[in-house]
Assembly symmetry: C2
Homo-oligomer: 209 residues x 2
């Protein structure tokens, strides 16, 4: 795959294959696709990437990607500012927003503590979270990090830092997905969903599938 007839082509393919999950063959396919587009379209593609990187802002409150100094969630009058959901990155916010079930605000850590990858507390927006609890009138922190060792470590770090503050700490419920059969659930999830069982409620709204 290294025997390209053109250095320009070679460097375009090399650049594409630096992206996660993009191998040399996929990179070549994408580059050949771009080659078939109008010059203007390729300029637009390239410009969107550099514009984003050079002009992106992060919300000064929650550190979410934003076009303004405070993001549209943090500046919304309809959101409950006393509840903060702690997430790893933007994709988690999109997922939670898509449920339509959350009216609080967020705090984006930018990852989780991972000594193996050289990511310590100082590389994340952890101090800013503690600061928000200290200065803002926050009543509840919902931890929504991944259930990995790194996520658990980060949860524990936040717990230790906040244990002297009067703030309620909770984690999102983990259990069997709605519609899933118990037979196929993994044992850890099933075990935890029994321990964390919730009182039976007669459904008043339409049942979700």
């Amino acid at each position: 795959m290294e025997n390209f007839s053109s250095k320009l082509l070679q460097s375009a393919v090399d650049e594409f294959s630096k992206l996660p999950g993009i191998g040399k063959k996929t990179a070549l396919r994408l580059v050949l696709h771009l080659l078939k587009q109008q010059e203007q379209d390729v300029e637009t593609f390239a410009g969107a990437m550099t514009d984003l990187r050079n002009n992106i802002l992060y919300c000064s409150k929650c550190h979410n990607i934003s076009d303004s100094e405070v993001c549209h969630i943090c500046s919304s009058a309809n959101r409950d500012k006393t509840t903060v959901c702690v997430v790893e990155d933007l994709r988690d916010i999109i997922a939670i927003e898509n449920t339509g079930q959350y009216r609080g605000v967020y705090h984006v850590l930018g990852g989780v503590i991972s000594p193996m990858n050289g990511i310590g507390p100082d590389d994340l927006h952890l101090d800013a979270l503690i600061q928000r609890v200290t200065t803002d009138n926050i009543e509840e922190i919902i931890l929504a990090l991944s259930t990995t060792m790194e996520g658990d470590t980060t949860n524990f770090y936040i717990y230790r830092k906040l244990q002297d503050h009067k703030v309620k700490l909770s984690t999102i419920a983990r259990g069997i997905a709605i519609g899933d059969e118990l037979e196929y659930a993994d044992e850890i999830t099933l075990g935890r969903s029994i321990i964390n069982r919730t009182p039976y409620q007669v459904s008043t709204s339409s049942t979700k599938k």
Copy 2:
């Protein structure tokens, strides 16, 4: 997935998801990766794409992507200029070159005749191929197009255009891949590999797996 907090992010994701095989979720993952890179690295990425599109040359002989007016294969003294292998695009050349078995030159059509997609003979480098046969001293044309109806149509078009020329036309052999079991071969391939059987040769070089 449409509820992005940033127009810059939205347009970067939109641009990425125009690429073939890249959905919105993958696009977001790639864009978030780029966001974590240095500004200079993103400039390099974007620059490689626009450089390629704006400065790319096509070999005046074989129409392969090239950095010079005649590509390194067509200008090589070691290649047999009397044999021309007709392919759809650059990826086929890479695949054939990787075998190390071909010493002739190529002709890139840029696709195959496909009325369904509005691709006629004039959209491909077919006239240029006929021209090469007329002016250059070409003895054999090897057709290496895909075995689809479009590929067959294109093969037939070339055959019709060249039937009055003294040039040998051949196609690459199709059959059971070396190492494959007959049991799992499709019937058309197996049938054709019986019809196009070749004389038994005692292998003198090392056997390929």
